[in-house]
């Protein structure tokens, strides 16, 4: 399948910043095979390649949306470098890192940013885990409100509360609990 429109790097970056679906599709298609090749030739599976690639694209998006971030290399190089780093981390976690990596592209070492990136990933993981620890019905309430952006009225009728005041009350209790769980971990890290 071929995408008719060709994008320049600038228009792609602009597309990312505007959350254009076409741009995402273009980027996804353009560099997937590169990462698939990299991961599968460094003892990974197709599924792992897909996971890593999607994480890499998310990092690209997150970085580009930061106000003070400027991409100093090609999108391709950035994606390759991020995915490479993520995959090395994954290999280390699985104790499969043999010390030698088959590389196919130029990459950025990310020496200065490694710490900040690690911290971001850890925070994301902590949040996901905290939400799991939080349990029901809190998880659903908070997800519906903060993640799915549902209104308090919708949540009230979905969860079967008698009125919105009750639902709100429950939401705050849940927030407090999440806070406790999250910051217990967070402060250990600091």
């Amino acid at each position: 399948m071929k995408l008719k429109k060709e994008y320049s790097e600038e228009s792609l970056i602009a597309g990312i910043k505007q959350d254009s679906h076409q741009a995402l599709k273009y980027i996804y298609k353009a560099y997937y095979s590169m990462i698939l090749h990299f991961v599968t030739s460094n003892s990974g599976t197709e599924q792992e390649a897909k996971d890593i690639y999607q994480e890499g694209v998310i990092v690209l998006y997150e970085r580009l949306k930061e106000a003070d971030f400027e991409l100093t290399c090609k999108i391709k190089t950035f994606l390759y470098s991020v995915c490479r780093r993520l995959w090395l981390k994954r290999l280390a976690e699985k104790n499969k890192y043999g010390g030698k990596i088959n590389d196919y592209e130029e990459f950025l070492p990310f020496e200065d940013e490694a710490e900040a990136m690690n911290e971001q990933e850890e925070q994301y993981q902590m949040m996901t885990e905290s939400m799991i620890q939080l349990g029901e019905p809190c998880k659903t309430i908070l997800e519906d409100f903060y993640i799915k952006k549902m209104s308090m009225q919708q949540i009230t009728s979905k969860m079967g509360y008698t009125n919105t005041a009750n639902a709100k009350n429950q939401k705050y209790k849940c927030m407090m609990r999440l806070k406790k769980i999250f910051f217990k971990e967070y402060n250990v890290q600091e």
Binding site: K25, Y124, M175
Partner: protein, 383 residues
Amino acid sequence: MDIVQKYTTIERYLEGQLEGNELIDFEQQIAADSNLAQEVEEHRILIENLEKVRYREEMKAKMSAIHSELFDVEEKSRAIKTKARIKSLWHKYQSIVAVAASVTIIFLGNTFFNLKQVRSVEEKQSTNYLQLNRELKVVKRKQKNIEAKTNKLEIASKKAIIGKVKSTGATALVISPTGFLVTNYHVVKDADSIYIETRKDSSLMRLKVKAVYGDEAKDLAILRVIDTNFTTFGQLPFSLRTEQAKLAERVYTLAYPREDIVYGEGTISAQTGYQGNPASYQISIPVNPGNSGAPVMDARGNLVGLITGKDKKMEGATFAIKARYLASMMDSVATNLEVTDSLRKPLIKPAANYLQYLQRPQQVNKLRKFVFVVKVYNSDKNF
């Protein structure tokens, strides 16, 4: 400040919804109160992270859609290629497949033979039923012989003991979701091994149990599941009725006198049992061997008693031990286990009745999950 109100303000502040005096007020409060400032900061981090989770999930969903749109087409074409390959392989290995097929046919023949065997086992089961009758007659004759000798045995002979014959299935009722059941003492008295069985749709569930407590006088025994695969029976829908059931009250029972569960209806015909036994009721309800241990429920789904036996000389006189005695026995077993066996799950008495507002068929449908066949095996052949 009310805590919910405080959080609302923090949230609104972070969303930039505070304006004018309210905003100035709140900023002053933050500046003055370091605790509040920290709370605001923590809330900000939390919301920021929740937002990040939301963003990532949204992106992943978008990309997964793109992924299947772009690459699943390729997978389809790959599937077509594999089909073509299978065709060429078929030509290549036709002869081998033919040999394999003939082997399969031989195996199939075996299966038919096995099916035949299964059928003959089933037939045996129905003849088992006849045997059971015969064996009961043997018991009766023996007892008649002894009758003349001792007065004590005379009583025993008059009381037909149901389900004493080996391999007769009696009935057991779950009394705790943690794996306890109750049945009659005479059912498990001489048991080498005891199993409980139930049919869920078409599959058979079979669990090994052990008698943990028995009371010969009350004819009650408590069984415990010792199968390692067992987790829980689930919430019990009935409760125990410890006060006396009224004369002429309608009751029903569920039991396994044969391989399938059987429902029976009757009334409380006397508040005392065999020979005036105050611990039992006399119920006019049709029962058969295998009904031992079957629950007797009242119209609202409370457990009134447990069937123990019937009078052979009297028509329609069935006896059931009162639930009150079961309740007190469960209490003593529970406290006993707490001391001797505190590591395993405790016995929890059923408390809530979920059956009372249901129609009878729905009641029975809920209850039947908690009624089991008890299969007792013993090597002792001299009854």
